[in-house]
């Protein structure tokens, strides 16, 4: 656990789908533990229909981010949206999450983090671990970090779920220093 490096806080909110309180609270503790940042849980945000791509049966994460940017004005350092919806960006078949690099908003999809998605038996610990890593990864992007070459670092690019499972739920020392630097230089 690290000491608090900010008086500002982060908002965590469900997006377009119901998310269990226990999951959100778990994330609040995790972010405080890893980053020393306070989090507040806010009410679910509904998203407009146009974010749903009927042909792909998925939700356009970029459109969701755009919607959040234009409709939410959080008085917080960062805003992390959590959703059960399956997300994509136009050029890719799917994404686990998306952030504005060095911006305010991030969105994380839990859809492909459940072991059941890969026909594996339920495993709550594995699911939580994946959710933590994905959230910290997107938060890192929101603080201006790019991907790390260190496979164990949480900022290593998760192209497939196996990448997420291999990495740890923390920044490597270099990324942590960068994270602190960005954090201190974020107004």
């Amino acid at each position: 656990m690290i000491s608090s490096i900010s008086s500002n806080h982060i908002i965590i909110a469900p997006i377009g789908s119901f998310i269990k309180d226990s999951i959100l609270k778990q994330l609040v503790e995790f972010i405080y533990d890893r980053c020393g940042l306070d989090c507040r849980i806010e009410a679910k945000v509904e998203i407009p229909d146009y974010c749903h791509n009927k042909i792909r049966g998925q939700y356009d994460s970029k459109e969701i981010l755009k919607y959040l940017i234009s409709h939410s004005h959080p008085k917080s350092l960062k805003f992390i949206g959590i959703t059960e919806l399956d997300l994509f960006v136009p050029i890719l078949k799917y994404v686990f999450g998306l952030s504005q690099i060095n911006g305010t908003f991030s969105i994380i999809s839990l859809h492909r983090l459940y072991p059941g998605f890969y026909n594996d038996p339920p495993n709550p610990n594995l699911f939580f671990s994946r959710m933590q890593k994905t959230t910290l990864h997107e938060l890192g992007h929101a603080f201006g970090l790019t991907h790390c070459r260190e496979k164990k670092c949480v900022m290593y690019s998760s192209i497939r779920i196996a990448d997420t499972d291999i990495k740890e739920s923390s920044f490597c020392s270099t990324c942590f220093e960068l994270f602190k630097w960005h954090r201190e230089n974020t107004k």
Partner: protein, 448 residues
């Protein structure tokens, strides 16, 4: 790559461009965007990228045409084609035309990451290979040019420094010293190396033909011009034009050439439109151009245009330390071609080779080694295998007919001058046109 890999994304759909940009930015790549092929081509003139991710179907200039244009400007840039309508045909066509690979939209994140990393690794390997080759390469060799003498080492050094620039180069040296090899080495080690190297032997063509060869002609420009033909200048666009025997061109062609060198544009014979070209000029001559200037046979302004960098190749008799190295290289080459065991040269034969004056320079040495390997029967090249070992001088009896005598004499003079028309005409005491007429009249043909 130590520096950030630079990627240009070309797609007419904003959502595709932006989402791919966001994805690649997360990996720390440096990204630029273009919304159409025309913009990408215009941008390529100003900026360079390691990879261009290019959409196949776009309004206006499509992906294949854009790729062709981009490859002309930036041949070293790898192109990754993307398409939403993949068929084997389009994929094969794209790859055949030079794309590194192709991706079907939307991509699996795995695929795009793998392809980009594959290209980065490929480019790293190419760079490492070049560096390794440079380190390993024999210092007595520069591309196809061989020589350990100080004078040749200086030339190798000069080629290395001159090749990457676009400066005009004038190569001087006697016949057979390897001027064209030097020109090829300059081209091959320049940024133009993937573009054409076009050689023109200015001395071998009569005036009117030379102009149409250099500048091309429009259909109907003259009798017999049944179709529009591109000239060598156009063919060499973005590459190198090697003008051999430049000292032999007429004053009229010199003026035309000077105009192109100054303005970088010209008209085809009979044409109205000005054609712009980006051509590096490397010229060569075995003549003393300064003497020619004094005798008003060569324009001094053209000389100064051509002689920006000059490389003089010394005759073989002035660098005799290279004879053994060259002989061994030619033996290796011809034994390989003839599927023969490699042969050594006896000490006596070596001495003969060293003592000979080599008026025909390296070309003569090459011919003599080839001949020795063909006619020699032993496992070594001996003095008997060399034509200058004995003064046989068994010339065939002279013909009695005056007409036949003239033909034989012209053949001999042409052969002695390596079929250089201007020089042969000068030796024969006639003008070039008369010589052309006689060549035609007697049906004299160049022996291979």
């Amino acid at each position: 790559m130590n520096k950030k890999t630079r990627i240009l994304i070309v797609d007419d759909e904003t959502a595709i461009r932006e989402s791919l940009k966001d994805w690649l930015l997360e990996d720390g790549y440096s990204i630029d965007l273009a919304s159409c092929g025309e913009d990408a081509v215009a941008m390529a003139g100003e900026k360079n990228w390691d990879i261009i991710v290019l959409d196949l179907k776009m309004p206006g200039m499509d992906g294949l045409e854009t790729m062709e244009r981009l490859k002309e400007i930036r041949p070293e840039t790898e192109i990754l084609m993307m398409t939403a309508f993949a068929t084997i045909d389009t994929a094969v066509k794209a790859i055949k035309q030079g794309a590194f690979d192709y991706l079907v939209k939307p991509f699996d994140p795995d695929e795009v990451d793998m392809q980009i990393k594959k290209i980065v690794t490929h480019k790293q390997l190419v760079m490492e290979n070049i560096l390794l080759r440079q380190q390993l390469e024999d210092k007595s060799r520069y591309d196809e040019i061989i020589g350990r003498s100080d004078s040749m080492q200086e030339i190798f050094d000069l080629i290395s420094r001159v090749a990457p620039t676009d400066s005009t180069v004038l190569i001087t040296g006697e016949s057979g010293t390897g001027k064209e090899l030097v020109a090829q080495a300059i081209h091959g080690n320049s940024r133009r190396c993937y573009m054409p190297f076009i050689a023109v032997n200015c001395g071998a063509l009569p005036d009117s033909l030379l102009e149409s060869e250099l500048f091309g002609y429009e259909k109907g420009a003259f009798t017999g011009a049944e179709y529009t033909k591109k000239g060598r200048f156009e063919l060499a666009d973005k590459g190198t034009l090697f003008l051999d025997e430049i000292g032999d061109i007429s004053l009229k062609t010199q003026v035309e050439l000077l105009r192109v060198l100054q303005q970088r544009e010209f008209r085809r014979l009979g044409g109205q439109d000005l054609i712009n070209v980006d051509v590096r000029i490397v010229a060569a001559t075995n003549r003393n151009l300064q003497n020619a200037i004094r005798e008003k046979r060569f324009r001094d302004d053209l000389y100064y245009r051509l002689n920006v960098i000059s490389i003089h190749i010394p005759p073989l008799r002035d660098r005799k330390e290279d004879i053994e190295l060259l002989s061994e290289a030619f033996i290796r080459r011809y034994c390989l071609e003839m599927n023969k065991e490699e042969r050594k040269i006896t000490p006596n034969a070596k001495k003969l080779l060293q003592d000979y004056d080599w008026p025909g320079n390296v070309r003569e040495l090459e011919n003599i080694i080839e001949r020795a390997l063909v006619i020699g029967r032993g496992d070594k090249i001996t003095e008997e295998d060399l034509p200058f070992s004995k003064k046989t001088d068994t010339l065939p009896p002279l013909p009695k007919s005056l007409k036949l005598m003239e033909k034989v004499h012209i053949e001999r003079v042409l052969s002695e001058n390596d079929w250089n028309i201007s020089r042969s005409a000068q030796d024969l005491g006639i003008d070039r046109q008369t010589l052309y007429n006689k060549i035609e009249k007697y049906n004299i043909q160049k022996e291979d």
